[in-house]
């Protein structure tokens, strides 16, 4: 009988190519990734089957949860200019340093008179629950209207564009609060906007 010769090959696989590829993909994903920023007002959005992408710039986002409304715009110049004009309107002067710090805040929910304290806070303190009570939006003290109107004006002045508005409402939020916000937008002829939703995965 002929002897069966077992080939004495090494069981090890050359990982070099695989490693190269893995790191190539990794660097690609890191570069294209947009970091998830922590939000001052955690919102759980409802799901929908409609899949329109949100614009990434030139966008004002209204977050609504627990009857509180938070607001934030994209773009640092727009933020600074909006804060300046808001300060003028309500008689609060902001220093250059404060303006610079404010331009790094993504969303906020305080009365303009408490804005100085908010800016002075540390980042992690600002994100804590119940630190920010929400922007006043009732009929007596409707700062939300001014924030939206002024940021729209600023965008028009700086970029010659109309600011897109996205509404990011919590699924459990009661309709009257949402209605109030919709009314505010409608009153200033902003009739077209985005509702931020999650992707519906289950069979609806």
């Amino acid at each position: 009988m002929a002897k069966l010769k077992m080939s004495k090959k090494s069981t090890k696989v050359d990982m070099t190519a695989m490693c190269d590829m893995a790191f190539l993909l990794l660097s690609f994903f890191i570069m294209t990734a947009t970091a998830k920023v922590p939000e001052a007002l955690p919102v759980e959005t409802p799901a929908s089957t409609v899949q329109t992408k949100l614009p990434e710039e030139n966008l004002g986002t209204l977050s609504i949860a627990n009857s509180k409304v938070f607001y934030g715009v994209t773009g640092r110049e727009v933020r600074v200019e909006t804060l300046k004009r808001m300060g003028e309107k309500y008689g609060v002067a902001f220093t250059d340093d404060e303006q610079k710090k404010f331009s790094l805040i993504d969303g906020f929910g305080v009365d303009i008179r408490q804005m100085k304290q908010l800016i002075a806070m540390k980042n992690e303190d600002r994100m804590k629950e119940n630190v920010q009570p929400g922007i006043p939006y009732d009929s007596i003290n409707n700062q939300l209207t001014d924030w939206i109107q002024i940021s729209r004006n600023v965008t028009k002045d700086l970029d010659q564009k109309d600011l897109d508005i996205a509404i990011k409402g919590d699924a459990k939020e009661e309709y009257p609060t949402v209605k109030k916000v919709l009314d505010i937008l409608q009153k200033q002829s902003k009739n077209n906007f985005f509702l931020v939703t999650g992707l519906r995965s289950e069979d609806f």
């Binding site: 090890k12 050359d14 990982m15 070099t16 695989m18 490693c19 893995a22 790191f23 993909l25 990794l26 994903f29 890191i30 294209t32 990734a33 947009t34 998830k36 959005t45 409802p46 799901a47 929908s48 089957t49 409609v50 899949q51 329109t52 992408k53 949100l54 609504i64 996205a166 509404i167 990011k168 409402g169 919590d170 699924a171 459990k172 939020e173 009661e174 309709y175 009257p176 949402v178 209605k179 919709l182 937008l185 409608q186 009153k187 002829s189 009739n191 077209n192 906007f193 985005f194 509702l195 931020v196 939703t197 999650g198 992707l199 519906r200 069979d203 609806f204």
Partner: protein, 189 residues
Amino acid sequence: MAELNTGDGGGKKGGGKVRSKKSNPGVDLTAMVDLAFLLITFFILTTTLSKPQSMNLALPDENKPEETPPETPAWRTLTIVLGSNDKVIWYQGGLDNPIDGPVVATYGKKGIRDLIINKKKYVDDRNKAAGEPDLEKVGITVILKPSEKSNYKNFVDILDEMAITGVKKYATVDITPEDIKSLETNSIY
């Protein structure tokens, strides 16, 4: 030039043969590949999930001078009143003299969707029989009336339903006391 001294700690000096170690030049990359793929998975998941979806919502212009509101025949309108407990009431035509309904229904595939599709078909068929040239223009008009007890999710759900069923004409209207009464009698307010 820079030279890396390895191994000989001064023991064998002069003449002695320096034996270099025959180490395998290949490095085991398995762990590195593992790590790389783990990170890739992490980045794939976080990037796709963090891109939010959105839906468009258009409201009528409030500041425009009111023209005469377009007359819509009662059979062409379907009103959906959003109540509490994820339930709705729908009726066709006016509430005081409805053509069909009012009936309590739920959201989704098992609830209101079939009804909307059926009603849309009914209106389209009737229009076709009457020989209307532009079916879309005279198609069904859905009137949404969210009550104070409904939540934002209900509102998005019903807008989603409009998108799924392809209803082109729908409007969000303030709720009337009669509608609230109707919700109350069905105990979903």
